[in-house]
Symmetry: C2
Subunit: 309 residues, 2 copies
Amino acid sequence: MSLLIVGSVAFDAIETPFGKTDKIIGGAGTFIALSASNYVSDQRIVSVVGEDFPQSMLDLLQAKGVNLDGLQIKQGEKTFFWSGRYHNDMNSRDTLITELNVLEHFDPIIPEAYQGVDYVMLGNLSPQVQRQVVERLHERPKLVAMDTMNFWMDIAMDDLKQTLALVDVLFVNDEEARQLSGEYSLVKAAKVIRAMGPHTLVIKKGEHGALLFQDEKVFFAPALPLEEVFDPTGAGDTFAGGFMGYIAATGDTSFNNMKRAIIAGSALASFCVEKFGTERLLDLTKEAIEARIEQFVALTDFDMVETVG
Amino acid sequence: MSLLIVGSVAFDAIETPFGKTDKIIGGAGTFIALSASNYVSDQRIVSVVGEDFPQSMLDLLQAKGVNLDGLQIKQGEKTFFWSGRYHNDMNSRDTLITELNVLEHFDPIIPEAYQGVDYVMLGNLSPQVQRQVVERLHERPKLVAMDTMNFWMDIAMDDLKQTLALVDVLFVNDEEARQLSGEYSLVKAAKVIRAMGPHTLVIKKGEHGALLFQDEKVFFAPALPLEEVFDPTGAGDTFAGGFMGYIAATGDTSFNNMKRAIIAGSALASFCVEKFGTERLLDLTKEAIEARIEQFVALTDFDMVETVG
């Protein structure tokens, strides 16, 4: 099955307690595509870069099965650039620089060859752009998922709510779920958010794992306890990319298969944080991923054979 | 098998966003004993109360199989009293009153009938008192577990380390694990703490579940996502009591059985927070506990039948 990705393809410069990078490749679309490519072979991306973006990275995406017909290259313009510094606990960060550049007036054009796509992952972008993509698809895909962030809740809540009404699955972190719903309890927040449109909600809790809500059902996925988080940049996108890659590869949107998709996404995210940017994702084998998934199985596996009392 | 509990039997007065109580029954020893009584029928408690403590509660503990020979009743003295107020997020609280009373000069005398006990749970008390209990047992029990808190790390770290060297299992929360070890990563913290004595470490993360570390093995137990946490008081003690009650009832200290014990403790803690103080624990049926444990099984159960890529 095929997966359409919409998201930034960008430059990042990152500082963590372990070191700092120059401009390296980043962007939600990049992380999602690299992560999903471990499962799905037919990907199509809608994005935009400037003339400064390296052809080598585009070649690499193409080699991983990503169709780039919808990736606009703007001559005379510059690629989106973000720079940030993580605090010692790695759970919070300061944005140092945001240069929107080509993203400022991004018109997400859908190539004709992309029509009829099976699955859609809308990476974090303005809710208006995300909505345009859904509206420009002639046929309703089997499942549309989106990511968003607190920034859009602060400045474009009405827009965001219009887009939420069109999607099936929403990814947010716990603080964003609280802000979006006005509820502190994540169980209550999930009810409020699901009433806004998405039938399925995934709440990402970083080192505390993730929660999957659908109807009255809940699934709690662990995060792998790690000795060191080297660089969290892109972990959430890698998680979502793994999730949607798994769904698209299996063509199964049941709750049970979404649980597996969350584990796949969690495993890929646990690799992402081991090195700067996309470095670790470019270096993955199928065997390494399967071994990591086995660690997740072992981490939560128990059997209540004995009942006593 | 038998379980020896050492811990406060006390009065609490609690304020939460949902209401406030007068003096009600509390104390680590009380929560541990009530929780463990769902699994183990032979319990023995070492504790102290004043003459103001109600006989009815002592009768109730006895009816639940708790031997009170080691519970000292100090005539002319008052029971330990703690009062606290929870903040809106229920994750932090202010202590309003602490009256040590009978706990100030507590000498934990072990009745002769308690000797030969199989399992020991040292509730949060001064590390010196906890150590005295272990030293006064003529035979080494099959497993000795202890709880502690940041307060003792602040004022009695050397004492605490002496006691840690004598125990098998330590319960702490994530902040306490970080303070005790000086490591932010819980994986690194677990290594440092296990080198201090306990071969097994349980890190309680409240709404984020719990981690069990032993040798190179890790187990991640979920917390049940709740609509409302009404009163968190005693949840950690209830968790530890359920854990040690399950271990004592099954007589099995293998890692696999400790996983089941964590689930049992988590299930009981999820009841504890539903009402003020011990109220919900006094009201539990075997059926309700088994149904709650089934919810935990469903919450983390997945099977990675499909491998793709």
